[in-house]
């Protein structure tokens, strides 16, 4: 099972996991930018004086691989990612594009503009690491398995979060109470569609239902929603008659079938159609032109740059830019609008149910390449707009000499708005995850688009790329409906791997087999969507689809089903034939020779009694989830029948488990597909839990959490990294008991724990309540040893003002001899040296002021200098230095450990080896003791199995396969069938063969008395993880220390040496105990105890002052201490010191008095001699 040492590792399965990120960026580089540039509208500047027009547009974007800036232009040296990480710079390449100028339709002049350094994704086509084999990657100072998919920005690694978006180009019926707040007469029902252009920008359109039977089309322009009567839009789209619209709308209603299966239309549809048409007539709009003028008139003020155009032109532009932008053809738009109306009416008449927006069926995912493309588009458009505004300003400003016809002048003006800002805007977006946009880009959220790719351990790192977030706007929702685990996400999102707590159910993880469709086909070529559409159309017509043509009135369900391709109505198929068509399409999908892409989604929603609105929806678009299943209707002996299916179609498919059974299906609905392996429903992290099918399910969830906070072997290229904080396990091991996923994804590259010999018994009492006893000698031998690497970057350029930048350098002070034991003459520490808190680790010399400044270690623990790296780019003087410290973190009492089954515990003792119980036969002493009470309520049976299996495996020198759901896999191989059915029997026999107890128990002797323990003890190796929560990072104690300046109370915060608040509830408990002295001690003596002088005459706390005794010229008597000057306190108000008394009080009381005084309130104390003092 384990790869032989030296054999080339296959990282391909691992790379597959990162594909969605990389492919989307690759597409952007290859074709996405070109497409996007084509979609950027050209702008026009008009000079009234010369009556010349200048048309500006952008073309020919070029993105270059990251290169170092060099003095000689001929040789460019590649900039490698590790250099960026260490130098804390961004991994970015130059973005150039041509700006075209055209005067009055004359010759086109191209001018190249530099749009700055554009962030490049690692392992994308422009990355230097692309295509490098593991050996080469290591020579580039990366991990051998470096998968990329992230950006390096200022040395930090950031990933674009995959976000859930509504499925593109699919009209979705929705019920939302907020719809009725749109205005008078609006109902809560609407059909909405998110239309996506070829350049991935999207515009959502909503079709609202009015209670009077009409409908309104709503779309957003510049942060405002505009609502148009649907009739006007229908008429404005195509030249049509009222009758045609009426017939088209009512085609879904057939008197013959009143209430049958799949009937969506009712009589009311006709009535509503009349209302819609009447509305238009009431506005006295009859022809298309009238409708266009009506729309144009209303929209001209909002549309920029169309002030001088005619109304119909404006209306056309509005419809082109905002209504069904995924379609180019007005007839298609008309058909889609008719369909949406029918779907809306069916929703109202309850002949179909609303689509669930929380279901994965109606969702897709936002990919990094697409996000960057749309953001870049907006920034470029803004830049163009700003550019022409600048030109316009110059033209109108008569005082300046500006030649509009001179390109040099125009270019100079445009450069006032630097083009380089474009790339830095994108970089900023990736750095902060915040979209700085006016329009909102049709997105639900503004922030949280990117996250840091933490390399705490490999599993955490990997999970960042597989995580799918529902969206920040849902996190604040009080309802739990969005968080629910729906059956629709089966096989696409892991049911186990979601955090518990705040983001539960919102942050999901893709299953290990789940893929995201991209613009690339299986061969790696960019898909030609037009060609695909045409070939699909051809096939559909062959099998009996009636194509939709202008002026051709279709029938509706249940007679025929409408066929969509990517949101475009292409025809209809008779409902009797549709199953055959679907089967045919699926067959073509799988066959490699066919033109149909293998990831096309055949969303066939069958006729039903008031179910989802029927239709045949074909999707070839990118950024859909897909997963492989076996199509068993196609005979195959190998992998030729593996079909990629999406969540939209899955709900209407019959997919059986691969255990060979039928899953209790009725004979009427035979299974057409079969799962490839039951573990396909698990994410990578979840599928690493051995025998997770034997565990109680919440425990598997906990394990997914804890696997991600394990202190593990985080990086092999640790020498070449400069992470702020990096946890590292010194002596990791590979687990004896492992799942098939462990090998598949080469987790051995980054192991996460240790095979510890675990005895389950109550021993010494230190293992109560999930505490665990570690064997002191095992720890001394190196078990769970680890360290934290922490890097400090000192950049002299960052510090201070520009003027003294050059004057600073790293140098040790010649005057201060004390630092020479810490620092070398270059001002930097010796490698391998121990530095204690408050000791210097770096010295900076300022030439101008001739002074040195030393950086001192903060924190509370001594650290070792692990590594010092310097920036040699600047030849003159060192300016940038990375100093990496190593904090030793060997196990101590209070550190947290866990097995792979959600069984976490805290080390309560490091018990001497000699006092640990030992086995009589082998003499073995456990590394770790846990309490038997950890099992009954938690039911982590797999942990017991692991212990037995690992014992057997280690005796035989073999790894044990612990892939879950083994019993649900078809037993045709005969391998598993021959043995006993029970897993326990199988594992027990292994032990028995080697002379051990069948159940994994052993006779242990007390480590103290040497007598046998009264029962046999369950003992065996279990893979244990060390979690990153360590006491050394957490302990917080103080007796005295820093206090707040205002209140003189102890401050809070561990970092600043503060204490833990003794709060109200703690106070209550002390009161309840009657522990008055303790209470006084905590809240007064140890807090802001203060002895104040109070004037008993006026009762004031604030008017008292010290009176400095007048210094009399007393001759000092040699040798004697100076006589203590008597402090005299007196009251300013009473002008006497007669009534002075001292009172003990909390200092805040005095502060209160002062605050009150500021409000002109006097506080008077009445002193009495009550205590008898």
């Amino acid at each position: 099972m384990a790869a032989k040492p030296g054999a080339a590792q296959d990282f391909e399965p691992l790379r597959q996991l990162f594909k969605p990120h990389i492919e989307s960026f690759d597409y952007m580089v290859e074709a996405g930018l070109d497409t996007m540039f084509e979609h950027i509208k050209s702008v026009e500047v008009y000079d009234p004086s010369t009556t010349k027009k200048n048309l500006l547009w952008l073309t020919n974007p070029e993105l270059y691989p990251p290169n170092k800036e060099r003095l000689s232009r001929t040789i460019s040296e590649p900039l490698l990612p590790f250099e960026c990480r260490q130098a804390k710079i961004s991994y970015s390449g130059k973005l150039c594009a041509d700006v075209c100028f055209q005067y009055d339709g004359g010759a086109i002049i191209r001018e190249k503009f530099n749009f700055g350094a554009f962030p490049i994704m690692l392992q994308s086509k422009l990355c230097h690491l692309r295509g490098a084999d593991p050996k080469k990657l290591v020579s580039y100072k990366e991990e051998a398995s470096e998968m990329g998919g992230y950006f390096i920005l200022n040395g930090l690694e950031r990933v674009v979060r995959l976000l859930i978006l509504p499925k593109r180009n699919y009209p979705m019926s929705t019920v939302r109470s907020s719809f009725s707040e749109r205005g008078e007469g609006y109902s809560d029902k609407a059909v909405l569609i998110r239309c996506v252009r070829a350049d991935q920008t999207s515009v959502s359109v909503k079709l609202y239902y009015l209670r009077n039977g009409s409908a309104r089309l709503g779309f957003w322009i510049k942060g405002r929603e505009y609502l148009l009567p649907v009739g006007i839009v229908l008429k404005a789209l195509v030249d049509t008659t009222d009758h045609e619209i009426y017939v088209n709308l009512t085609c879904c209603y057939n008197e013959k079938c009143e209430k049958g299966k799949g009937v969506v239309g009712t009589q009311l549809v006709g009535e509503r159609a009349k209302i819609i048409l009447d509305e238009v007539r009431d506005l006295s709009l009859f022809t298309r032109l009238q409708c266009l003028e009506y729309i144009g008139e209303h929209f001209q003020p909002i549309m920029d740059g169309l002030e001088s155009n005619s109304y119909p032109f404006v209306a056309e532009t509005v419809m082109k830019n905002y209504i069904f932008v995924h379609l180019d053809n007005n007839f298609d738009k008309f058909n889609l609008l008719i369909f949406m109306l029918q779907k809306l009416f069916s929703l109202i008449d309850q002949t179909s149910v609303p689509d669930n927006p929380d279901s994965l069926q109606n969702q897709e995912v936002l990919l990094p390449g697409h996000l960057i493309t749309i953001y870049l588009k907006e920034k470029l458009e803004e830049w163009l707009q700003k550019g022409i505004k600048l030109i316009q300003d110059e033209i109108s400003d008569d005082s300046k000499k500006f030649d509009f016809c001179s390109l040099a002048h125009v270019k100079k003006v445009m450069e006032k708005n630097p083009a380089r800002q474009i790339s830095s805007a994108v970089e900023n977006m990736l750095k902060t995850g915040r979209l700085a946009t006016q329009t909102g880009l049709d997105m639900q959220q503004r922030a949280g688009y990117t996250v840091m790719a933490e390399r705490l351990n490999f599993l955490r790192f990997l999970s960042h790329f597989r995580a799918v977030h529902r969206g920040a706007s849902f996190a604040g929702l009080r309802t739990t409906t969005v968080r629910k685990l729906l059956p629709d996400s089966w096989g696409f999102l892991c049911p186990v791997h979601t955090p518990d707590g705040e983001p539960c159910g919102l942050l999901n993880h893709m299953t290990s087999i789940c893929k995201v469709t991209s613009f690339f086909d299986a061969q790696g070529n960019i898909k030609d969507y037009f060609k695909i559409k045409m070939s699909v159309l051809k096939i559909l017509v062959e099998v009996g689809m009636m194509p939709s043509l202008p002026k051709l009135v279709r029938a509706g369900p249940p007679v025929v089903l409408t066929v969509f391709i990517d949101g475009c109505i292409v025809g209809s198929v008779p409902s009797g034939q549709v199953e055959k068509v679907v089967a045919h399409l699926r067959r073509l999908k799988v066959s490699s020779a066919a033109v149909i892409p293998d990831d096309m989604e055949v969303g066939y929603i069958p006729l039903s009694m008031g179910g989802a609105y029927p239709g045949l929806y074909l999707f070839t678009s990118p950024s859909r989830f897909v997963r492989p299943v076996r199509n068993i209707s196609i005979p195959s002996d190998g992998n030729e029948n593996i079909e990629l299916i999406g969540p939209f179609e899955q709900g209407f498919m019959e997919i059986r488990c691969s255990d060979g059974g039928d899953g209790g299906r009725k004979s009427g609905f035979p299974a057409t597909h079969e799962e490839i392996h039951p573990t396909g429903m698990l994410s990578v992290v979840a599928s690493l839990t051995p025998w997770s099918d034997h565990n109680q399910s919440p425990r598997n969830m906990y394990q997914c959490q804890m696997a991600k906070q394990t202190m593990a072997f985080s990086s092999q290229a640790i020498k070449n990294r400069a992470d702020q904080k990096l946890y590292h396990l010194q002596t990791p091991q590979t687990p004896i008991v492992r799942t098939s996923a462990y090998t598949k994804y080469s987790i051995d590259e980054f192991p996460t724990g240790t095979n510890a010999i675990v005895a389950v018994l109550a021993y010494t009492g230190y293992d109560m309540e999930d505490a665990m006893i570690l064997n002191k000698s095992s720890v001394e031998r190196g078990m769970f040893h680890g360290q934290i690497y922490q890097t400090e970057t000192i950049d002299l350029n960052d510090q201070g003002r520009k003027s003294d930048r050059t004057s600073k350098m790293f140098r040790r002070s010649n005057l201060d001899k004390t630092v020479s034991s810490f620092l070398d003459s270059d001002g930097l520490p010796y490698v391998g040296q121990l530095i204690k808190p408050e000791e210097p680790y770096c010295s900076v010399y300022n030439e101008v002021t001739n002074s040195t400044y030393t950086c001192k270690r903060r924190g509370s623990e001594p650290v070792y200098v692990d590594y010092v790296s310097v920036d040699v780019k600047n030849k003159k003087q060192l300016q940038k230095v990375n100093i990496r410290f190593r904090h030793p973190r060997n196990p101590v009492i209070g550190d947290k450990f866990s097995s792979r089954h959600g069984q976490k515990g805290v080390c309560s003792q490091l018990w001497p080896d000699i006092d640990m119980p030992f086995s009589g036969t082998t003499g073995m002493r456990p590394d770790l003791i846990i309490n038997p009470h950890a099992f009954p309520s938690r039911m982590t049976i797999a942990m017991l199995l692991e212990s037995v299996a690992a014992k057997g495996g280690s005796l035989r020198g073999e790894f044990v396969d612990a892939t879950p759901f083994r019993s649900s896999v078809k037993k045709d191989s005969g391998e598993s069938g021959s043995k006993s059915d029970s897993l326990v029997d199988e594992l027990g026999l292994l032990l028995k063969e080697k002379g051990f107890n069948y159940h994994g128990v052993e006779v242990l002797y007390s480590g103290v008395y040497g007598t046998e323990l009264t029962c046999e003890i369950f003992i065996g190796p279990v893979y244990y993880q060390r979690l990153r929560h360590m006491v050394s990072d957490k302990f917080q104690v103080r007796s005295t220390g820093t206090i707040d300046q205002v209140t003189r109370q102890p401050i809070k915060g561990r970092k600043r040496g503060g204490g833990i608040r003794f709060g109200e509830m703690e106070r209550d408990s002390l009161l309840a105990h009657g522990a008055a002295y303790l209470l006084h001690d905590r809240l007064h003596t140890c807090s802001d105890h203060h002895i104040a002088d109070v004037c008993s005459l006026c009762g004031s706390l604030l008017t008292t002052t010290f009176q400095q005794p007048q210094r009399r010229p007393v001759r000092e008597i040699g040798g004697l201490p100076p006589g203590k000057a008597l402090k005299k306190v007196f009251c300013h108000a009473c002008k006497t010191s007669r009534g002075m008394e001292t009172v003990a009080m909390p200092y805040v009381f005095r502060y209160l008095a002062a605050e009150l005084a500021a409000m002109n309130i006097k506080m008077t104390l009445q002193l009495s001699n009550g205590a008898g003092a």
Partner: protein, 305 residues
């Protein structure tokens, strides 16, 4: 108490079952668990050996950090026959406890520079030829680190005498165990057993979890299946009282000793016994003390005898 008295009359006797250089297995008869424990404890914790205690790293460009390297070095077993003649570094009279003289320390030097193969324990150059890595004459030593081209490792390691109680690196024991030689014996009271019905017998058998008993299918008698293995100290069912009798035999032990290589197994045992003897001797010193200063007390003791 009775058992102890019986034991007291006997002297422990021992018989070697198997003896190799690093392995020793012997039977100890006529003693108690406490004595066995004492022996085990002394062997693991108190027999002094020599191990690397201080590492001075001059150059280290290998991929292992200094502390990791030191961790690997300190667990290389060093032949420690000399340990008894050496001083603990803190008590060394020759160097006043500084711990760098030849009486209390052994210096090793290692300098390697991108060698073919690994840097192993064989590369450690000792200052005292009788203190060597235990596998010095083996064809392959213990790997310390692998070096890449251009990497270099120069260090000085100072080995000192110590005991396992302070750090496990000084423990000469790799594995040890002591168990009852002949575990308790179980006898079935056949007469009483026969009074049970077959159903009852089956129930009775099932109440013992580890297949201790079985009902013979032919004779329908309850028989012991695993004589001599793993049924010690089993809990007796209250109903079973009288049906079986358990005879405990707890005065004979099998002892297994396996060393790391620092000492020979037999040597380790001898050293351990010597330490035990020395510990007991301290009571003699106490006796002398009494004789000198508290004659009256001793007189009393004498008269009692």
């Amino acid at each position: 108490m009775e058992r102890l008295l019986k034991l007291n009359r006997l002297m422990p006797r021992w018989k070697v079952l198997e003896s190799r250089s690093r392995f020793l297995m012997f039977v100890l008869e006529g003693t108690t668990e406490s004595f066995v424990r004492v022996l085990l404890r002394i062997m693991t914790e108190e027999v002094p050996t020599i191990a690397i205690h201080e590492v001075v790293i001059e150059t280290n460009s290998s991929f292992l950090s200094d502390s990791f390297l030191a961790q690997r070095l300190r667990f290389i077993p060093l032949t420690s026959d000399l340990a008894n003649l050496m001083y603990y570094s803190t008590e060394c009279p020759n160097c006043n406890g500084r711990g760098y003289c030849h009486l209390c320390s052994v210096e090793f030097r290692l300098s390697a520079k991108c060698v073919a193969g690994d840097v192993t324990s064989k590369d450690l150059v000792t200052s005292n030829p009788s203190v060597l890595p235990f596998d010095f004459f083996d064809p392959t030593g213990t790997a310390i680190v692998k070096l890449k081209p251009g990497e270099e490792l120069t260090l000085k390691a100072i080995a000192r005498k110590g005991i396992g109680k302070d750090h496990i690196k000084w423990s000469p024991l790799a594995a040890t165990s002591a168990k009852y030689f002949c575990p308790s014996d179980i006898r079935i009271n056949e007469e009483l057993m026969e009074t049970l019905t077959l159903e009852q017998k089956k129930q009775w058998v099932a109440s013992y979890p580890t297949d201790l008993f079985q009902v013979d299918p032919q004779t329908q008698k309850v028989v012991l299946c695993r004589p001599g293995n793993g049924y010690h100290n089993m809990p007796l069912n209250p109903e079973a009282r009288g049906v079986i009798e358990v005879f405990e035999k707890k005065d004979t032990f099998v002892f297994t000793v396996e060393t790391t290589g620092a000492l020979k197994a037999s040597q380790l045992l001898m050293n351990a016994l010597a330490i035990l003897k020395r510990k007991l001797l301290s009571f003699r010193v106490l006796e002398d003390h009494f004789l000198d200063h508290d004659l009256a007390g001793i007189d009393k003791l004498d008269s009692e005898n």
